[in-house]
């Protein structure tokens, strides 16, 4: 199962996703409406990837734990408390660029 081209199929049929803090993994799970638990690697404290995971946790969109607290988190989790994730809006970017170039 090392590196599959696309996890999309597995993601679609999952009820819960447990992932590392990589942005791609987190966003893919959230955009597919899956409840997500992000597991932080304590030994990579300097990792800027944590910023997004922390923010998503502050927004109430994900649960957050480290390897040693994973079991406890799974036992006590309340997935219904997770807030829905609103996807990003590239239209706003297009609109902004159009203004810059006087294309509106």
């Amino acid at each position: 199962f090392r590196f599959k081209e696309s996890l999309a199929e597995h993601l679609q049929s999952a009820d819960l996703v447990i992932s590392h803090a990589g942005a791609g993994s987190c966003l893919e799970a959230l955009e597919n409406g899956k409840p997500l638990i992000v597991v932080i690697n304590d030994k990579l404290m300097d990792n800027h990837q944590l910023e997004l995971a922390k923010q998503l946790h502050r927004d109430g969109c994900v649960l957050y734990c480290n390897c040693s607290t994973l079991v406890e988190t799974l036992q006590s989790m309340d997935l219904s408390a997770l807030k829905p994730f609103t996807p990003g809006q590239p239209e706003k970017f297009a609109s902004f660029l159009d203004k810059v170039f006087g294309l509106q």
Partner: protein, 169 residues
């Protein structure tokens, strides 16, 4: 590379055909982005048949966590390499979102602007991963870009000259 490519393709997804032809610049060591780009452009050609794009490769300017001093040398080399490319393409707009590859391209465009050869508008979009701190590319290009876009309010506070549009990928 990877996440950067996915983000930039999302940014491109809502752009009209006024933003054409598109010239993609990749690091020579990047194996995965080309396929993603071709797939995106293929889909785009289904709606806009006249759509045009090209792919260029440049030496990677910096490896992750490469030392400061050697990074300056490799970046200078990449700038030398990017100059003829930027001169040839003379883009009206450069859009980038943070991989080390973008710094030499933007700096060479900036230089061509100073030399009055071509004025390119440089738009930098910091990655969605960057909530509290800027990437190294961001810290550099904050001073060289025409528009510097951040996706989280805390960065807007720290970098007041930036543009905040909310999450756009």
């Amino acid at each position: 590379t990877g996440g950067h490519t996915t983000e930039i393709l999302r940014l491109l997804s809502c752009l009209s055909e006024s933003y054409s032809p598109r010239h993609y610049v990749l690091a020579d060591s990047d194996k995965m982005s080309e396929a993603k780009i071709r797939s995106f452009e293929q889909k785009r050609a289904e709606t806009f048949s006249e759509s045009q794009f090209s792919l260029d490769r440049i030496p990677r300017s910096r490896e992750v966590r490469q030392s400061w001093i050697s990074s300056v040398v490799t970046t200078l080399y990449s700038i030398l390499y990017s100059l003829p490319l930027t001169y040839k393409r003379k883009p009206d707009l450069i859009l980038c979102n943070g991989p080390g590859t973008c710094v030499p391209v933007c700096l060479s465009a900036f230089l061509l602007g100073l030399l009055l050869i071509k004025r390119t508008i440089i738009v930098y979009v910091e990655s969605i991963c960057r909530v509290e701190t800027l990437s190294l590319s961001g810290k550099i290009l904050y001073y060289f870009s025409d528009y510097f876009i951040v996706q989280w309010p805390e960065l807007k506070k720290k970098y007041p000259k930036s543009v905040y549009l909310g999450r756009i990928v």
